[in-house]
Subunit: 314 residues, 2 copies
């Protein structure tokens, strides 16, 4: 069989990059010619993890669109996403062989039956670790390191309400294999990701941004994890300007940015002009200065996206 | 937790009924208050299996629509289907907790992440048997009997091209538990299902009918397995009349009926007026007298639906 690319979502986070690494590794152990791929640049946190465990970044796929209709379709395994808006460009022109995820099921459809496994756990690497066990395969030290990095990232070191006991157990087992103190390493990694000091407003405005569609309307929602609000507040005017420009350019209904403080475990949800009513309705909160304050909210998947989708889907 | 209904598709076949029985049994072993349910009358083949293994038919759910918006939502686990057109009435008003299937992924979406497992095997009971093993649970003799009945039904005793090695292995293991000679039992069960002698045209026209949607168009496709063409040919005029009436009433783009001979392993695909062009394009065959002959075709899922969906989806 020809090469299969394992790929996560656009604006990849640590989970998407690590899942490409870990699931392609598993598939290779099972005899599949699988290659880790990515649909964008790794962020600072991910780079920290890749450097720490000396793992090469997955190969960049710019697009999987075919030049000629006679060309063979690119074979993909999707990890950590299933909404078409979040797929690598040209994914509609590719052949999707498998889907492994931990998000809500979106608009993904297939022509034929394929292997699909979605589980409501904190991180897709927890799902993948389950598949390692089911297949009796042990990840290498490096791969285990990437997997635990992903689980720590997605669960914010077990602080996110999406965290399950299985996520915690997986991190503990993977830390044994990787030979790290996961708490010390995790804080270091999160700190690396939260360092926005040298990021321009463009980068911050688009950080870990995902597109969502409901009721024919498309909105975007990015997320930035910080350990201190001041540095990002200082850049707020510039970030909001970029958000407004992108919204206009991409004809979004609205653009949101979750500014999540991982120490105080709360989120300031920034949004573009005109989204006051939707944001207030979604969270039952008064908006102020294009922002809704959401205490105890850290998870886009569980605590933000479903409520916005419900409002826009009306 | 309140009661959860495990339910298959409308116009249930043996796989849908058996999956409701087998997956609810597994969930009960795992401590969930799960109840086997059905969205329609069991067919003759299924009744034969239920009688043979002395298993009660699942409870009938007419609709899961709520009377008042304040009423608690009915909790469902969907087995053997995922397209909204095939769900029990009012499914949009229910809370779907899990989805276990072996079909293409259709238009199903969820608000939150749930457990979804779809595997490209011949029968959803093969997927469910895998979950029994993963959980270290053994089905009862009766449940094993229903599971092997489903796999034999969906794979037409391993004749369908959808059959995988895992389906065969599952039947062999389940036959040990159920204490039956699966080949002799299987032929008897298929024969019971293929006996259409006392079926009125209405029943035959709607046998195991599923609705499909592509490009905003809805069409239906039923399937009847026979071991002899003569009895059904004798009723053809009446059956076609019912098909035309249902098509008009439900505003289908077209209605199809696969008349599949499980001994000669081929299908006569009957269709309503106006569908010649679509049927000819889908299968690259000349239609004659509102029928396309499809040698070596037995599987709606693999050999018929994808081609019709492609034509209507244009």
């Amino acid at each position: 069989m020809s090469k299969v690319f394992v790929i996560g979502h656009k604006s990849p986070d640590t989970d998407s990059i690590a899942a490409a690494v870990s699931y392609s590794y598993l598939k290779r152990q099972l005899g599949v010619d699988a290659v880790a791929a990515r649909a964008g640049e790794p962020n600072k946190e991910t780079k920290f993890a890749l450097d720490y465990f000396k793992v090469e970044a997955p190969v960049l796929l710019e697009s999987t669109a075919r030049k000629n209709p006679d060309d063979e379709k690119t074979k993909l395994i999707l990890v950590d996403h299933n909404e078409s808006k979040q797929c690598v460009d040209g994914a509609k022109d590719a052949e999707v062989l498998e889907l492994i995820d931990h998000h809500r099921l979106g608009d993904f459809e297939t022509e034929n039956p394929i292997f699909i496994l979605i589980r409501p756990v904190g991180c897709v690497n927890t799902v993948i670790y389950g598949l390692y066990k089911a297949n009796g395969v042990k990840p290498s030290k490096e791969v285990a390191g990437m997997m635990l990095s992903a689980i720590i990232s997605d669960t914010v070191l077990f602080r996110s309400p999406t965290t399950t006991d299985e996520d915690k157990a997986a991190v503990k087992e993977l830390a044994e294999i990787a030979g790290v103190d996961y708490e010390a390493y995790g804080m270091e990694m999160l700190k690396a990701g939260a360092d926005i000091s040298d990021y321009p407003a463009e980068k911050l405005a688009h950080n870990d941004t995902k597109e969502f569609e409901a009721g024919g309307k498309v909105f975007s929602c990015g997320q930035i994890s910080v350990m201190d609000l001041e540095p990002i507040e200082a850049k707020r005017a510039d970030i909001m300007k970029v958000l407004e420009e992108t919204k206009a350019e991409k004809q979004y209904e609205a653009s949101y940015l979750m500014v999540t403080n991982i120490l105080t475990e709360d989120t300031y949800l920034w949004f573009t002009s005109g989204a006051e009513a939707a944001a207030e309705e979604a969270f039952g909160k008064k908006a102020e200065d294009r922002c809704v304050y959401l205490p105890k909210v850290m998870s886009r998947k569980k605590q933000v996206a479903p409520f916005l989708l419900k409002v826009y889907g009306k």
